[in-house]
Amino acid sequence: GAGVSQSPSNKVTEKGKDVELRCDPISGHTALYWYRQSLGQGLEFLIYFQGNSAPDKSGLPSDRFSAERTGGSVSTLTIQRTQQEDSAVYLCASSPQVPYEQYFGPGTRLTVT
């Protein structure tokens, strides 16, 4: 079956602009996660959604970051007023439920100039 998909695969934006990153999880997976990977910080958890529960936002680095999951499926990660330190690969993952293995998408490489 289809895996986790993310779009766009690459995004270059100017400092100060807003960006939206999209994630389509595996059908039927109730949990969806966002991570980011950068040279200096390694792989960091950002946020996760589990069914209809309130999302765990404990990893979001600032209030410029937000995410939503519509209809229990597609998720959008929004970064407002982007900064150069936001440059990273943003990875989305889904799992059938918690706490199982997670299936990762190919990532979105964000470059803020």
Binding site: L43, V98, P99, E101
Partner: protein, 111 residues
């Protein structure tokens, strides 16, 4: 925040040799997972070991878990050039779904 350390940071071996990577973590866990990453993009799940398990096998992979020492190891036997990748351990606690990753080990298998 990173859960712990992985060592070595980099490992270079010849095809056919075994590769061992170690991971240490800090907090109590529900399970520990190993992932592989090629070319800095998506991660592929390799194996999951639960906190009440001590050893698990999957093909050429063998994972051990020592909860008293808060450590795990991943052994890849009879390595192949295609095993060249970065390997990450990640822990998952009982009260949360988020994975906490180690810094990773970069493995190079020379043909």
């Amino acid at each position: 925040s990173q859960q712990g350390e992985e060592d070595p940071q980099a490992l270079s071996i010849q095809e056919g040799e075994n590769a061992t990577m170690n991971c240490s973590y800090k907090t109590s866990i529900n399970n520990l997972q190993w992932y592989r990453q090629n070319s800095g993009r998506g991660l592929v799940h390799l194996i999951l070991i639960r906190s009440n398990e001590r050893e698990k096998h999957s093909g050429r992979l063998r994972v051990t878990l020592d909860t008293s020492k808060k450590s795990s190891s991943l052994l890849i036997t009879a390595s192949r050039a295609a095993d060249t990748a970065s390997y990450f351990c990640a822990t998952l606690s009982s009260n949360t779904g988020k994975l906490i990753f180690g810094q990773g080990t970069t493995l190079q298998v020379k043909p």
